[in-house]
């Protein structure tokens, strides 16, 4: 009986994350509120506090946010194997859908109507990215320091073609130095 129940949890984890991957449009950011709703309210897998931890960690770690969340919830629920099952679940729909779309596209990409559609899709894609800059930028650029880091990073990557990896490492060090400095100020 117990054995059967445990098996069901793995299947449940897999199906839950498979559905999340298959039905969420708009990437990992769009998944956050949906997943929160599922794991806290529908499944009762995590309490609200635990879900808040999960989201905070998934966003502060590098890597794909959706994979971070799947690994975390799976690990929380059923250890290492649980995290593996949930992660595969969230990846698999993308893997299958993208290969299908690519296979179909490779035959028709040169068709003039398809090409026309792509002009529109790409223009809209740039629009979504521009809007993300505005929306996220509003929340982030709230002091001079953030503004300088943002502009300097843009120039470094775009004008001087500096590797994004260096930009990440350097801005992380700057952030740590800033925090250490301001904490020291508080003590005094």
């Amino acid at each position: 009986m117990k054995n059967k129940k445990e098996k069901n949890i793995y299947i449940d984890l897999f199906i839950t994350f498979f559905k999340l991957g298959l039905f969420t449009l708009g990437g990992g950011m769009a998944m956050i509120p949906i997943l929160e709703d599922i794991v806290v309210k529908k499944k009762n897998w995590l309490t609200q506090d635990e879900a808040t931890d999960c989201i905070a960690i998934s966003q502060s770690l590098p890597g794909v946010i959706a994979i971070n969340m799947a690994t975390y919830v799976g690990r929380f629920k059923k250890g290492l194997l649980g995290s593996l099952v949930a992660t595969i679940g969230v990846i698999l729909p993308s893997f299958i859908v993208i290969m299908l779309v690519s296979t179909i596209l490779s035959d028709i990409r040169d068709n003039s109507y398809v090409n026309g559609a792509f002009v529109g899709l790409k223009a809209a894609a740039v629009g979504m990215i521009v809007w993300a800059v505005v929306k996220i930028g509003k929340g982030v650029f709230n002091d001079i320091m953030s503004g300088i880091i943002g502009i300097a990073s843009f120039i470094a990557i775009w004008v001087f073609n500096v590797s994004v990896i260096y930009v990440v490492l350097i801005t992380c060090l700057i952030g740590i130095a800033y925090i250490k400095n301001s904490e020291r100020g508080k003590v005094k």
Binding site: P62, G63, I67, V90, N115, V126, V140, I149, I176, I179
Partner: protein, 178 residues
């Protein structure tokens, strides 16, 4: 064999150094892809558009697309594996000391320093995409530029869902540019 290793490496780096979600990872992805000369800027723009209109995490979609178009199913497998492994390991390690990690100076530093940089990375992604979409054979393409501006208006001011905006713009593209 080498191509699989290259794909794995490009996307493994994203798993380790990619902060701020799928859009912010695009410049890092582009740098890796152009370093090994795997795709043109136009193909990369296709990748970005497709990754956004299909369901699932943008970075996983992008990894599968890049891998598949460069070297088939095995390519897709190694690219996707590359992007997933670091997250899988890191989360499992951090899981052991959640509270300490959340209050650590590293996390605060990332929040203070890297977050503003991720906005810059998203902006670079817009410029990379814009270059191949708005400029062709050295002439400005005004129709896509207008479509982009209308898209920003629709999603920003009218609060339409992104996928609806994609559908509308794709449709207009077929009629106007097809």
């Amino acid at each position: 064999m080498i191509i699989y290793l290259q794909l794995f490496l490009i996307f493994f780096r994203i798993g380790i150094f990619g902060f701020g979600g799928g859009m912010a990872m695009l410049p890092l992805m582009y740098q890796g892809i152009s370093f090994f000369g795997l795709m043109t800027k136009e193909e990369f723009a296709d990748l970005v558009a497709i990754s956004q209109v299909t369901p699932g995490p943008i970075a996983v979609n992008a990894a599968t697309f890049a891998g598949f178009s460069v070297s088939g199913i095995a390519g897709a497998f190694f690219a996707t594996l590359g992007v997933a492994i670091p997250a899988f390991i890191l989360v499992n390690i951090v899981f052991e000391f959640v509270k300490r990690f959340r209050e650590s100076i590293l996390v605060k530093g990332i929040f203070k320093g890297v977050r503003p940089a991720t906005v810059a990375m998203i902006a670079v992604a817009a410029v990379i995409m814009g270059e191949s979409t708005f400029v062709q054979t050295n002439t400005m393409q005004w129709i896509p530029i207008a479509m982009c501006a209308i898209s920003v208006f629709m999603v920003g001011k009218l609060k339409l869902s992104p996928i609806l905006v994609f559908a509308i713009m794709g449709g207009i593209g077929v009629v106007v540019c097809g």
